[in-house]
Symmetry: C2
Subunit: 129 residues, 2 copies
Amino acid sequence: MKIVNIEDIKGTEREVQGEGWTSYRMLLKKDGMGFSFHETIIPAGAELHLWYKNHLEAVYCVAGNGSIENKATGEVHQIHDGVLYALDQHDAHILRGGTADMRLVCAFNPPVTGRETHDADGSYNLVED
Amino acid sequence: MKIVNIEDIKGTEREVQGEGWTSYRMLLKKDGMGFSFHETIIPAGAELHLWYKNHLEAVYCVAGNGSIENKATGEVHQIHDGVLYALDQHDAHILRGGTADMRLVCAFNPPVTGRETHDADGSYNLVED
C-alpha cells in the first residue's frame, strides 16, 4: 500500500509545470499500477493544444470549469465538476480554462514515467525507464 | 473522444450501490482505456472490509474524510482532500468513513466490467465480457 499526499510532492520532481498547466504526478510507471495518476490544474483563461499520440487519457473534473474542443470534428464540450472526458482515439484537442481554475484528476495508459515533455505537436513522447 | 457527465449516469446501471458505498462507473472495460474509472462516495461513519485480490486500485480523495487500515500491518492512514492510496500489493484493508462523506476518484487495473459484485471476502471477482 502506498499513500501519497499532494502536499508532500509540491516542489519536488513530481510537480511538473508548463505554460498553462501544473501537474502533480501522484503515481508514475515505476509505481507499477499499469497506469499513471495525476492531478492537473488548468488556470482560468489558459489554452493548450494537446495530442497524446502515444497514450490514452481519462480526465475527470472535480472543480472549476473550462472546455475541450475536438480538433477532428470542431465539437466543443463544456467541462465542470462531474464531467469526464476520455481520449480513447488519441484525439487531438484544445483544452481551455474557463472562469475558475480547473482541477482535473487524470489517468494515463501506458503510464507516464514523469520524464516526458510535450512535443511541438502537443504529445508526450514515450520514455523507457 | 467520450464525454461522461456523472449526472447522466445517476439512476442507470452505471450507478452501483452497496452497504456503505455508492459508485459511479464513469469508464468500464468496454470503454477500451485499459483501466476503469469511478467516482465512489463513502458516507460518514461507514466501514468496509475490502480485498481486491484480482485488481490493482488507486483511490484519490477530493472531498470529505476518513481512514484506511492496512490489515496486514495494522497501520491506519488518514484520508482527506489531496490524499491518494494505491493498493499495489492487493492489500486487504478496512476503509472507514469519517465525519463528512468521502468523495473518491478511483482507477482499477484490470478494468472492471460493471457486473462485478463484492465476494464475501471483500474482493471483486473477475468477469469476462
